[in-house]
Subunit: 428 residues, 4 copies
């Protein structure tokens, strides 16, 4: 990663601003000798962050699943724990005793190879274990993981650390979901509860104009010895065509202009599937927006707030991003374009505000092969019908974002902190 983008990442706001030196990310798994303390510290930091995000929530809040795409907070807390128990302790901790075998069925998410599981849509029906019992489950597993890290032979550690590492990044992904899922749940409540009354969306950097794309052959994807998900590999050549990509994110003010120009009422601006979704769902503004007289309010983690025109637009679907770009006579960038522009320091707010829709359908990099075993289901099996988003959001935990990171969602989904920046493709 080039210096400039490292700078960008460093500048990305730590969303929940806890103080002190970060223990995350841990050292590379290949570093020798293994720094056990560093790994334990990283493990604790990630586990603590999950609990810190759940802390403002009542047992009732943690119970609810407000739609099929979302999960209860309690489930996130338990599932991330199950992940360590299932993939790390069960196999690699001799003598480990499973906390409760019955939880396996409840907290497997989608790993078919790991056995049958609670239907996703019914996660909200499971009232036992309670939130308090879930905390006990977490403690039990935490203790065992820390003991494993302290006591495993160096040889065993070589097998353990790659699993631990993916478990930490996995848990961070669920930390982001804890916030987006509870925001969705609270948005269903006419009382519009605040997750954190003091929460504020970070302000964007001042940025103007567009960065020219470095036309020609270059390489994208994961490189080096740090962590990556399998879908970021293999690093490979890509051809960048001439063009430019905006330095700034699209703002609420710009989005209001789109709306004022009939953006949600003109089918010629929309993809066919997008128009159907917009009509079916009754979209006439981004997710969580509500009209109040002449003003627009939006549901946020701080409760209902007036839409701030200077902030980046968020909670938009791919379909809306695409319609906006068509309305503006512009393009969405490809994920390769985004990656090289961010690498070269051309983008403001690449990280930490909103995930940015690209026009790249989520698919395998050339020569990609998933991991063997159940963890091979992590990313590869979702490579249809979704689009890639790049960067990271206000909800992404500190240390999680990386330049080649490939996030992906279905084009109709908008409960994540999703926004966009525009590009312009030069005529070929």
């Amino acid at each position: 990663m080039a210096a400039s983008s490292a700078a960008t990442l460093a500048a990305s706001p730590a969303p929940r601003g806890r103080a002190g030196r970060s223990a995350f990310p841990p050292p590379p798994v290949t570093a020798r000798p293994v720094d056990r303390d560093a790994w334990i510290a990283a493990f604790r930091q990630v586990r603590d962050e999950t609990e810190a995000r759940a802390a403002p929530l009542s047992p009732e809040d943690q119970q609810v699943q407000s739609m099929a795409d979302a999960s209860p907070t309690k489930w996130h807390r338990a599932h991330t724990t199950w992940f360590f128990e299932q993939f790390l302790l069960r196999e690699h901790r001799p003598g480990y005793r499973i906390f409760d075998e019955r939880l396996h069925y409840l907290f497997n998410s989608y790993y078919v190879a790991a056995g049958p599981r609670q239907p996703r849509i019914s996660r909200g029906l499971i009232t036992r274990p309670t939130a308090a019992e879930t905390a006990a489950y977490r403690s039990y597993v935490d203790e065992a993981v820390e003991a494993l890290l302290a006591e495993a032979s160096p040889e065993a550690l070589g097998r353990v650390l790659p699993i631990l590492e993916i478990g930490l990044y996995h848990e961070q992904q669920h930390q982001e979901l804890i916030l987006t899922d509870i925001l969705h749940a609270f948005a269903q409540n006419p009382l519009a509860p605040a997750y954190d009354p003091g929460w504020r969306f970070p302000r964007p950097q001042a940025a103007e104009g567009a960065a020219a794309l470095p036309a020609g052959l270059t390489r994208i994807g994961h490189e080096g010895e740090g962590f990556s998900f399998d879908n970021e590999s293999p690093r490979h050549d890509v051809l960048i065509l001439p063009g430019a990509i905006d330095r700034a994110l699209v703002t609420n003010a710009e989005w209001l202009a789109f709306m004022a120009d009939g953006g949600y009422a003109r089918p010629e601006l929309w993809l066919s599937d997008g128009w159907i979704a917009a009509q079916t769902e009754g979209w006439e503004a981004p997710g969580y927006w509500q009209r109040e007289g002449a003003a627009w309010l939006t549901m946020t983690l701080a409760g209902m707030r007036t839409v701030d025109p200077d902030l980046p637009v968020t909670h938009i679907s791919y379909y809306e991003a695409d319609a906006y770009a068509r309305w503006a006579g512009r393009d969405l960038p490809t994920e390769a374009e985004w990656e090289v522009a961010a690498r070269d320091g051309g983008l403001a707010d690449a990280f930490g505000l909103v995930w940015q829709w690209t026009r790249s359908a989520y698919s395998a990099y050339p020569g990609y092969r998933p991991l063997p075993g159940a963890l091979g289901e992590y990313n590869g099996k979702f490579m249809s019908n979704q689009f890639v988003l790049r960067g990271s959001s206000v909800a992404t935990p500190a240390g999680h974002a990386r330049l080649p990171y490939r996030n992906f969602f279905y084009p109709h989904q908008r409960w994540q902190f999703t926004g966009l920046r525009l590009s312009r493709q030069a005529s070929a």
Copy 2:
């Protein structure tokens, strides 16, 4: 009500066995002078019973809505409170200050005349107010109701008591639902939690043979000055045809014989709509039954238990009751037949074990007119597509059951404690 049926009622097991002299039912609303203390005592008893039924449940348990027909415990606690606030305090308690106007939308159930309301299907999404905040709401309203009862002028009391009385019976209906709804929720959980590990289904009385029906003209429906719901009136003449009605309820042992004879696999035994429901839902036994090897288990308020052959079958739909009667070459009684047989003391376990499906579609008694205003929506608007059940169940609170009581559910529903007894219609 004749002595014999009063005896039956008196013999009906108080389902949750709390000791002490009962303050419920209160005196007739027309009794003068008004015994304010008796009314306050009755009010307290009903309100306490609700809290007693919720007490074993965690905040998570109280949050969940496991299907559209069910509601969260917390919702029941709040809705019954709203009922008093809306219909009693708002109008009849001068200077009463609404606890929180925003709750009105959340806890109206189906009273269209009382304004818009939270969609029924989304009751489980409302995590705030929490269970603890709901308790505060209850206390606040309780205090105001008791003050109203203590302070209202005699003239005002004349208007207040009929509303209070319906509010108490209304809350008792929700007490029954608290048990049936949480049983459904717990049945979705592979851990099969127990509501009360010591709970036992009451054993039926010894009873054999059938009671002959008193053929000819008689009268059914509410009579006298005690409480009744509007749908029990007017009392009117009916013609009872010759026939007989079994003294005993159908048992699990008998139901197992029906199953062994292919009861769930022979379409000729079923109503057309019933067969579709059975195929769609995959019914092959009563609700909550699960095969375990050669045995049948059933989910109960005490957790998973072996099916006891001597107990009355329960959690069956009307469709199943109807198919069973056809298989047995018998009939289900009409609601009039049931009422006169129970009145004359011909039925064992008329009350307190299972509601008993009749073959009477739920409809208006001749000359029936609903109450004016929002309370007119209580019963009358449900008079299509449902069938009448008579008696009461193990979950019915003490003092609630009455001879002319008309319960009603859709023919596919089976999460209530519903069973049957057979009859035989003499050839006309």
Copy 3:
């Protein structure tokens, strides 16, 4: 049947007005000696009437199934033929060779005991046999049935005639459906094709006031040796309560007053299930009505026509009939009330205009037992969730209507020629 009602029936308009002496209904099945020619003539008349009703329809028209409740004309023509082949010829015509065994699956309607069948919803997908091939199937079976009638031994005839007779009444029921189903199909077409440009709805008789009901015990149901469906038996005692029933049907003019008074916008007038249906389906007028400026048009068998205020309202659901009665402060009659009033000559237009919703849920008469075998599925298995309609409609073939006839439909259905008359129940 009393003379007066016979007169009413005789006065009922023959809906399609074909001339000549009617051969239908045939003699009683028990009449001896058997008049073979009369039976053959009755058979031919019914079979011809089906073809006459299909004649104005193109092969395309005959192919279409416009909703799950409706069936293609071609299917009606084939299914009624299959009925004779399956229940009459297969068993009772020695040496009969099935026309095409593969048709059995296609043209069984709902006789589970007769084997698997084409899913109802997919009847419109079967393009072969074509309409022309269906005509050949009809001719083949007609010839065999007529030969059977001519050649069967007297003893065999005794078994054959009851099946033939039910087959004829069965085919007449499908004749009515041919008209109502094609009307529904044509109503989906923006071109609003006319089934018969010369078709006119018959004008109602002049009638005023209400006929008092003969309070007390009386008997209803089938009696005598003529044909009846099993659900009309046993004839049995009923108790008629005091009241009166309107001589005239409710008219379009009256319905427009209901609409003008917000009938479709006031939930307090509606059953709960009815209000849901009305909102879901967007009802704001009877079926097939369309606003055109200030006027109302309605789709008819003659194409789109202005609503005639003097005609009886039709294409209304039970829910609408019930809401109208509540709005009018009146009742719908029970089926017993209807039957005794019609019997005594108290009703104008009891037959031949519109089926009249009663407030009786469709259920078994006391002591009812269905026919043995597959024909036992004819009526009995539909005894839930439907309401009884009495009389007959403009689409009912001549000779089909009878006093104790019990028609039944689901309360949301309105593609039949369904209307209402009001009653008033005296206070009990």
Copy 4:
């Protein structure tokens, strides 16, 4: 287009083998002077081919719409006619009188800019105009188009020919759908009617091994003055990575090996969305396959036939193609890889047997802009959730297939003649 691929195209079987010199494709629209006779001949040939494909079908066959994705034959015949009337005659033929303005609503497919239209799902409900009336509509429009071609000024012709040309290619696309849609309809019929008993699937060429891909920069997309759809432009640079692509299509024999190895029962082989589709739809073999004892039959245009192991597999979804490739340890090619391999003559049966799924999500070429006006809806608005198929099929009309042609379908669809060939991506 290189000579070798031209040869491939020339060799592609004319699917319905009509004799005589082909008048299609017509001259380039820019050729001067305009050869009016050549254009009229091309027009006639295309219009005649549509009628020839409809000729074996009865009016009933032409009426049916067997699923939302399919359309009635009659609709295809009318819609292609409407296309000329709407986009050509209405604007460019002075004095032209619309055949019937009411047809506009019925036969617009999805052109939002051209006004409201019959819901797609209800196309099968429109029985009028009949097939015969549709023929009259076609003749009327044909005459007007031919007169326009004969009489238009040279200047007018310059505007007319590009619309005419797209109209012809458009109609050819519907010719393919006429066959695939009626095959789907016939497959719903237990009688398994044959569209053409003499129809045979063409045998594949002998071909072995894989063609190496020309790694490096090259160009794809439309070039030259011949016809193309807008989505084939702009021609642009692409980077081909090292790899190879199979010369032969995957056969039924190979597919049976996949099935025998549990291909349809092993979730680890499938995309997540694909596995859900397979489970929901109950897939255990390609579309139209049915087990008969130990053999597999498949529904074809000649009726039910034994699966021929030597033929290419067809009627498979993208999900199945993807699972097969994973099972085989291979890849699907990208559309660019397919295009350069076909261009260089490396592929057997690139055209004329089955469309070949690529792993390219259907999206815009860099710098793509749709046509202005309603015709801009032709291709661009479908650029989400679909995958590109390349080549052509046995149902594609002669002269229609071209090297840069981009077909696209949703990944779950399989009623087209869709198959696959494998590739291998060299490790990056």
